[in-house]
Symmetry: C2
């Protein structure tokens, strides 16, 4: 039974998992959808109620009957490297590849249908509520007066992007930013704005969940630092225990979201409470493993190597 | 309790349903996401485990607590008409609008998560198998020799696009086409190709499913016509009974796909058997209603007007 890894050749995090799969003697095919067709090929037959497909890449062939799991890491745009590429060829190739893979009984980390839903941050907040996390009060609005009232109510408020930074060249960063007390909210009318009650934190927490296995890491914050992703805090990521009051909502969240893998970000306040900030279904884990020594790549490999579900679709 | 209709102002099919909702006295808000922000506004608060949002468009306001259902018809790109529009503003606005709506308990026709999956034609074929439809033998391949072998096995074979025609200006059409006996399959290596065993048909069938209500229409084919969407057959759409051997798989398909609305296309062969060709989760129904007098818009209105689920998310 074979594992299919959909990612680009430059993905060093995937390399870490590939090594672990090799050590376990698990066959795998690594494919960048950008190389299809040309360096890779596919075929799928739907005949008389039966279904059989196979995929060929880098000299290896995998059949749908031998497909154990699919890991969607950093796949390229289908057909991007193909001769005569075009948006239409990408659409045709994406239909063929993913439509065929959706037809198998393979387990997904993560199924693109669930991944797409999990990217919606407002929906994450609601699922986080349902799961039992502490979530900082949050507002998303295009009404300047509502924004002003919210900021007045909570005092210290941060502003964040909903969708991440714009995709510009050169890239720009959009760190979470603490608002000044005299902020003018007129501009809120020009675009939906996410405001969140600021959590004074003593540490950032990154919790990686693979199936039901949890790995949490903690990095002490620098004084007054708002966004832990930017600037050196002078501290390193260190492994930290996951209390049951966090483990339960994490598992509930994963279940409600239908995810096999996710990276959660929390802010740890002065009383040690972990506040849910966001969940990234495609979040990196390489930097955590390198700093903490936690066997995350191994846990991913274990999950991918487990037997397929057998249940149809 | 209010119905939210997400569509463009030019959508005359939506107009038909809006009339039906008005006749039933059901409040509705019609919104084109392209008009947000600017002509429409939104606000959502996630505070202390509670969630409240409201949406304002065309002088009407709807609160999440009063939101009965969401009909996703032909929504524009979020923020497309906004002052200073950009891909980033569209991404931010889409996150805010859909993320907020996903957080409600409203019923969806169709939920974008399910709609996205249902667009994959190869997956449709597999679900059609599971549901118990007759499905013509189908191949999707990048291997010229496999295509040649398939065509040889089934004799008369049609070729179809997987993703529909390219989006070019002026638009081009890509009708389903019967292959010549001496077809050269070399080009299959350049892009995944869908071949299907040809069903000699005496009629096209369009079956519209709304919840559990089915409306089927039949149009006799012209001699030798392959793709019923192109060219006048000299016949009109007429209502036709749905046999139980079709109704059961339709309901099974809707359940497996998680859809509330879908338009199915079948080919009726000389023995009266309906062969599954495809399912369009966003298919038109206006032309069927106009020709057959079947009350499809009324059925959509009935479905949208039913009470919300109450269950969280």
């Amino acid at each position: 039974m074979t594992v299919l890894v959909l990612t680009s050749p430059q993905d060093v995090t995937a390399d870490m998992v590939v090594v672990e799969l090799h050590e376990r003697g698990v066959p795998l095919v690594r494919l960048d959808p950008a190389d299809l067709p040309g360096d890779a090929d596919l075929s799928a037959e739907y005949v008389h109620g039966d279904f059989h497909c196979y995929l060929s890449a880098q000299g290896r062939m995998v059949s749908s009957r031998a497909l154990r799991s699919v890991w969607v890491r950093r796949p390229g745009e289908p057909a991007a490297h193909a001769h005569g590429t075009s948006p239409w060829l990408s659409a045709e190739t994406g239909q063929a590849l993913y439509g065929m893979l959706y037809s198998t009984t393979a387990r997904w980390m993560n199924h693109p249908r669930q991944a797409a839903q999990a990217r919606y941050k407002p929906w994450q907040l609601r699922i986080a509520h349902h799961s039992g996390f502490a979530v900082p009060p949050t507002l998303i609005t295009t009404f300047p007066r509502v924004a002003e009232e919210f900021a007045g109510r909570y005092g210290r408020v941060v502003v964040k992007s909903l969708s991440g930074p714009p995709r510009t060249e050169p890239p720009v960063s959009l760190p979470t930013t603490l608002l000044e007390p005299d902020t003018d909210f007129t501009g809120v009318a020009a675009g939906p704005t996410l405001l969140q009650s600021y959590v004074p934190k003593r540490a950032d927490i990154r919790l990686t969940c693979i199936g039901t296995r949890l790995f949490a890491a903690r990095k002490a914050s620098a004084d007054g630092q708002v966004d832990g992703r930017f600037g050196d805090t002078g501290h390193a990521w260190e492994p930290v225990e996951v209390a049951d009051r966090i483990a339960r909502p994490v598992r509930e969240f994963m279940e409600l979201a239908g995810l096999a893998y996710a990276a959660f970000d929390f802010a740890e306040d002065d009383e040690g409470l972990w506040w849910f900030l966001e969940c990234n279904q495609g979040g990196q884990f390489g930097f955590v493993e390198l700093e903490t020594g936690q066997p995350i790549a191994g846990a991913v490999a274990d999950w991918l190597a487990a037997p397929p579900l057998g249940a149809p679709l």
